[in-house]
Amino acid sequence: MTHSFRHDFPALTDAASHYLDSAATTHQPASVIAAQQQALTTGVGPVHRTIYPLGVATTQAYEAVRSQIADFTGAAANEVILTRNATEALNLAAWIEAPNIQAGDEIVLSVAEHHSNLLPWQRLACKRMAKLVWLDVNADGHMDMADVRQKITERTKVVALTHVSNVLGTIMPVSAIAALAHRVGARVVLDATQSAGRLPLNREELGADYLAISAHKMYGPTGVGALIGRQEILVKAEPMIVGGGMVTHVTEAAAIWAQSPQRFEAGTPNTVGVIGWGAAINYVHSLDWETIATHDQQLTAYLLQELQKIPGVQIVGSTLLNNRVGIVSLRVQAGPTVLHSHDVAEVLASHNVAVRAGHHCAQPLLEHLGLADVVRISTGIYTTNEDIDAVISAIRAAQAALAAPIKKQATVPSH
């Protein structure tokens, strides 16, 4: 029986509510809420702009979290750029890489990328007349290294990769791919949104030149994320957003940018969110990685086992535990008809089970797998066996509720 961490989370006190959409966003533990509340009660001053004690204290608290994020990812503090979220971080990485991309260059990305690590490169390739090259993912969600070796060439300038697929839950072979990328002088941009809080992140071991994470996917607040980038890259890079707080000197004619990472942090940040993120990092450390991994594996094993007992449930991706986390996508049939994930999610919602339905911001992946839409179940540290029991029973209820009325059989071929 897995230990329950649910009691750490005020939003989950109702035992009848079953939240299984942690891959979309996670709940915040009491300690993270308290840290933000305390900051607000004590007073949140401006950061980097004042001489008086409140501002100085707020700035120190903000910068302390930057150092925490650096430790969390194995980087230096001046390599951590605080953003609104991982999406903004990935857009910033594409912005910084843009001058390096010329016509005919290639940007390699996996077919499993979330739209946030796809669209910035797609747009860049369009603007620069560069080519997008796609790394295949098989039906189990794994990559074929022979395919990767063939596709990363001397024309490759950037390899954009997800650490963990937000649809299939598979852990990609990042270090091996990064080694191939660096051999041809390409830079590696890693979307670590689904791995942060589930797996330890070490920027060097992974081989990431850029790493993007969001606080709200690791028990932290919304509205804050980070791009962790190599010092030697950032020191020469142009900022994406310009304005107050990222300049040393401004005249009517010109401006001199501040040093990195301040250069990339224009305007007033989500100060309270950053402070909350620091508390979330502390919470994750208090759990320790082995506990997190064990909890995840045990729940995922139970979920997969129970799902496979339901006739008409098709798991999308691997049914095995190796190299994957607690993110499982599936299709549900009622008789011969494959139910639309939206309807399944609707019935599950009426049973107090929260799951995600649709294409999960990964349309190329679904198309590659020959699917239109899937239901996704994803676990967090607060997920319990009871949550799994609830989703299993709700899926059976959905099959019954959405079945063809008894007097007639279905005539529509399912997609």
């Binding site: 639309h340 939206h342 609707e346 019935v347 839409d373 959405l402 009325p405 529509v412």
Partner: protein, 125 residues
């Protein structure tokens, strides 16, 4: 669940006027980006009256039932009248209140029909 009452499930599993045809029809594809509903409608129009509608696509219960019910109601309706149909008309067809999160599902068919009639549709051959 009220939403999935028998009439809607019937239209979902046995939709009326399902399947695209060869021929000269107004044709238009519509998407619901949130969930992946995808529908293609074909309309035949004579003297500014919609004579028939058929459709197909990957769709949830609500969007398919709405399209199926619409394909029955639309027969022999003047184009101008069809262009005036909105959410209240679709809800009346479906016979059940539609939750806010599913409004786009309910509207997909009529919005796609409107696009087809407004001339942004392509003609099928």
């Amino acid at each position: 669940m009220d939403l999935y009452r028998e009439q809607l499930l019937d239209h979902y599993h046995n939709p009326q006027h399902w399947g695209l045809k060869e021929g000269n029809y107004l044709q238009q594809r519509g998407f619901n980006p949130i969930c992946g509903d995808d529908i293609t409608v074909q309309l035949s129009v004579q003297d500014n009256v919609v004579k028939s509608m058929q459709f197909e696509g990957n769709s949830c219960v609500i969007s398919r039932a709405a399209a199926s019910l619409l394909s029955e109601k639309i027969v022999d309706t003047p184009v101008d009248e069809v262009l005036g149909w909105q959410m209240s008309d679709i809800e009346a067809l479906l016979g059940v209140p539609i939750p806010a999160a599913r409004v786009q599902c309910a509207l997909l068919a009529i919005k796609t029909v409107h696009l087809a009639l407004q001339g942004s549709g392509n003609h099928s051959q």
